[in-house]
Symmetry: C2
Subunit: 163 residues, 2 copies
DNA sequence: TGTGAAAAATCTGTAAT
DNA sequence: ATTACAGATTTTTCACA
């Protein structure tokens, strides 16, 4: 073999689309599913799930990581056990629409802000926050408003059925 | 040792509260933080982080798992790579408030529904869904409405800053 | 709880098919 | 992709403070 072997096509998938998912085949899909269920599954386990050899599984998992399909591994922790039993969704929109729109950066470092999305709708952004108490939520909302100069509209989570 | 050794108090924490978080000490907190960042961190790494021996760390991690503080380990997967680039929040409320309120169970099995919360506010429940396209969202919303007999109000996610 | 050490299992890299 | 093998790491278990 003298020249490089292009893995699949030109790395762009279909007609000029920015490097796409590069479609997962059946085996990859099963690996991903298994790793989503148990991020610590051993190669032996994954080999069993897919019917492939351990070596083949290892190579595939590495590729999935390298391709950015699997971006990491995390322990799932009960928020209540961390002292943050209260979850809320917070929609925010700027007081003054002329101001600079850097809300995501501004709220990122506030403790308790777990996620930030820009959304289409009445609000500009949607946050998910976890706090210790209603009082803590009140304080956090104040920080959010002040830090990002926005108004907030909160939806309190009463119960999490699954996530 | 003849009788069982109660781990801490009576297992209820403070005055009759239903078995609480059992407060994490400093070391546990660091372990949890490390495992949230890297769910595959080795005992050696965790020992380094905490200054404890591997055995001690292992015992603590086991207890955190047994206590339900750490509920599992998951690979983090790029939704786009799975062919689900479109995220949305869907608020739902029943058409007829007299009907049985089993929406969470009904939507649980619908593919693409990633989370379900009951909420305080105008809606009864908030869902987070991931789908392949606007068309797929339309179809999923139809299924949700039909399956759980609810009306929906959706907020499309344009960009995920962090989660 | 904790430590330390030995045994068992797992991962990694390489090579031949 | 598969099998096989060796060396390094990691996990597990156990004796003991």
């Amino acid at each position: 073999m003298t020249a490089e072997t292009p893995a699949r096509g030109d790395g762009r998938g279909r007609a000029g689309l920015p490097d796409g998912p590069a479609r997962l085949d059946d085996v990859d899909a099963r690996l991903v599913a298994a790793l989503r269920e148990d991020g610590r599954a051993t190669l032996a386990t994954l080999a069993g799930v897919t019917g492939l050899s351990q070596s083949a599984v290892q190579a595939r998992v590495r590729k999935l990581e390298a391709r950015g399909v699997v971006t990491g591994y995390r322990a799932v922790v009960d928020p209540a056990a961390l002292g943050l039993p209260l979850t809320a969704f917070v929609e925010i929109r700027p007081f003054d629409q002329a101001q600079e729109d850097d809300a995501p950066e501004r709220v990122r470092s506030l403790p308790g802000v777990e996620a930030c999305y820009s959304v289409a709708g009445e609000a500009n952004y949607m946050l998910m926050v976890r706090v210790a108490s209603p009082q803590a939520l009140e304080e956090l909302l104040g920080e959010i408003r002040r830090e990002a100069r926005v108004s907030t509209r909160s939806t309190i989570v009463l119960q999490t059925y699954f996530e």
